[in-house]
Symmetry: C2
Subunit: 428 residues, 2 copies
């Protein structure tokens, strides 16, 4: 069996040929977990590992004996490493397992993917400091970044039931819209439908209620991450969000990518956490040497848009944004785990912690239309002559992410796509 | 079998003698649902109905064939009414079922109760207008009630994992505390631990994502209600809550009472919804004639405190508050259902919707210490000479509720108790 370090070896190749192609999101160095149904009408979800353009049915390999992803996520770090090493060894070129495992492969294109685990609770953080600053200016011109921002990893609870998987079609939501200062609000369709480019961190083993997870153990409670789109209705948000935060402006839908890339796979792409000079140091419960040295994530993130007209014309999607999580996030996943639990709140396997919108410093690295158009003031022109301030019906919005570093094999996060549907008829 | 109306008949008595005693919370007219384990070490939860000081094991009666409360909650209104009528008939004096059902009874005192259903998502609303006004004054003296309050049933998502059942012992939480304006925050134990007197409304049958529930159908999606204590760390809250709302100040624990009193049982205690003259009318999606006529709930609510010293001295708890939900709540449960789903958010059976703190108009009807002590300024003196601004370690806080009306049998909500434990040692 390979050691954990060997699972990252750039020389490692798979007997699944598509996994060895340049630019592939899922080489044998990645091995992300997801849940699938076959197109043959099988109802129950099974756990799969993406490899090239195939999915390995993990239970069929005999390495696990469950279809419960949350149970797998709760495994000890040692068991997780051992499972990764065993999958890596079995999929490696020359493995004696090739004959037995060949029958456990499905073409990805033939599968229906699901939300990758049961998400008991979902929390959305606000770690993108450039996002917080730009949006803060729009909502509160005189007070963009709150005094607590550099001390508290700001977060709030989100809605778990409405999280769907990539490929989701979401209806444009209704909500209360407030126009002129002296006019009453009206119920209407959001006119400012937006996306948010986020990473979703998945909890592994949880903690008991009342027992905080210290920084030194926080990474052990992280299972992995996926792409996450926190769709937002900005007009609804602006009217409803005081004093208790966003509610209907966010809970109509969120979309997650189907593959959880594990913290083990991400090991070569960890980076130092850099705080700007002059910023306060984190309080001790949010600080550790390991976190300063390699708590951050070096992940390139992109947003792509394909309108209905582009799709009809056979035109490809256009890229709206390209940035890096490392430059965008003020707080690391470990800090989010430590903060979330410091008061005793219990995390459970499969809980989702959104990063918040990961916008870079530069305007074209912004992770939402609210930022790219400065609140709808600067209309974006697309190559086919269309333009956008916010999303229109028929738009497909796709998040992509990947990790690249000299001396390591590129690993991808796959994609997180969603398409805006017109609303149902309004009878209310 | 009794008709639904007959289940409320004041003349109806049970062969369970304790159910006929004056002041009993659980007469045969109530029939609330809960989940229990026997003290005999049986691990699996079973569905029970409270009757007097006993619990009827519902599956043992043969009326249901599941231990899954959420499945029972998802039943159609017609099936729910039929089940209630059958339970009522079987427990009524003279029933031929008495012999068979006698063996399905357990003494409540011998059982361990659980959170009454699986709570997938928990939302906390803010329907207590007197609470919102008083607290608004403390947090924002110049802007107590936000301009959206009388238009939007303000709510936010809460933490489901940390909800426990009455009898819960909760640790005093750690959190960031901000002192003087120019001093950095510190991690410390909350010094302003508070309770919030709420009702918790439980969803029955849900809705599909993207399909709002109109007002006319909202009550059909309500299963029932319980008492709910939204413990709050006020010092943590004041520092963390801008701009995205409360987080660690609330998610360390919440407590719910074990018995869900059904909407069927509450039918005799519905009341007109009165909006003060001059207030805006609700938008059409939040309005219906039925809601105006009997959307509100006539429920008396109380808060009781027993300190450790009182307990040691054998002294009973003292009442801090007595008020009525009808006077406190600006929005009805049906309006909360309609609002929650208007953007397409999907409710699922067992989802919990907190009412927010139900404080009456008068100062002694306040549902939190924050209000009773005006932010800690007015210390409360207890009969034994102790005093409180906020909760201290060892305090047991108990919520109680009941419905009383001339011509109807009193029904109770049971109690929702929690005891504050000292924090664990702080190593962070």
């Amino acid at each position: 069996m390979n050691t954990l370090n060997e699972t990252h070896d750039p020389k490692l190749r798979s007997w699944v040929a598509s996994a060895n192609e340049a630019g592939c999101d899922f080489p044998v160095q990645n091995l992300p977990f997801g849940r699938f149904r076959t197109a043959r009408g099988v109802e129950a979800l099974r756990i799969g590992v993406a490899i090239g353009d195939q999915v390995l049915d993990l239970r069929a390999t005999g390495l696990i004996h469950t279809d419960d992803m949350n149970a797998l996520m709760a495994a000890s770090p040692a068991d997780r490493r051992a499972l990764r090493a065993a999958i890596s060894a079995g999929l490696a070129e020359g493995s004696s397992r090739q004959g037995a495992w060949q029958g456990a492969l499905h073409a990805q294109s033939a599968l229906e993917m699901a939300v990758p685990c049961h998400i008991g609770d979902y929390t959305d953080f606000y770690t993108g400091i450039h996002h917080a600053t730009t949006v803060g200016k729009l909502f509160r011109p005189d007070n963009p970044l709150m005094p607590n921002y550099k001390w508290v990893p700001i977060g709030y609870h989100g809605r778990a039931s409405s999280i769907g998987v990539s490929g989701q079609h979401l209806r444009r939501p209704l909500g209360q819209l407030k126009g002129a200062a002296d006019a009453p609000p009206v119920l209407g369709l959001t006119q400012r439908l937006d996306y948010e480019l986020e990473l979703g961190y998945f909890a592994g083993a949880g903690n008991a209620l009342g027992e905080p997870i210290p920084m030194g153990e926080a990474e052990q409670h992280l299972f992995g991450l996926a792409l996450f789109n926190d769709w937002s209705a900005r007009d609804v948000q602006a009217w409803e969000y005081v004093p208790l935060g966003p509610f209907l402006s966010k809970n109509f839908a969120s979309t997650v990518s189907p593959w959880i890339v594990t913290m083990e796979a991400l090991a070569p792409f960890r980076a130092p956490l850099k705080r700007p000079a002059g910023d306060p140091q984190p309080l001790p419960y949010l600080d550790s040497a390991a976190n300063r040295e390699h708590g951050a994530l070096d992940i390139t993130l992109e947003v792509w848009l394909q309108t209905a007209k582009m799709r009809e014309a056979g035109a490809p999607a256009v890229r709206l944004t390209r940035g890096n999580a490392r430059e965008a996030a003020y707080w690391t996943p470990a800090q989010l785990i430590a903060h979330h639990t410091v008061g005793g709140c219990n995390l459970q396997p499969g809980d989702l912690l959104g990063s918040g919108t990961l916008s870079g410093r530069k305007p074209d690295e912004a992770g939402s239309l609210l930022e790219l158009t400065l609140g709808g003031k600067n209309r974006i022109t697309l190559p086919n002559g269309e333009s956008r301030t916010f999303l229109e019906d028929g738009d497909t919005l796709t998040l992509r992410g990947c990790c690249e570093r000299a001396g390591a094999v590129r690993i991808g996060l796959g994609e997180c796509a969603g398409t805006v549907l017109p609303a149902v008829a309004l009878d209310a």
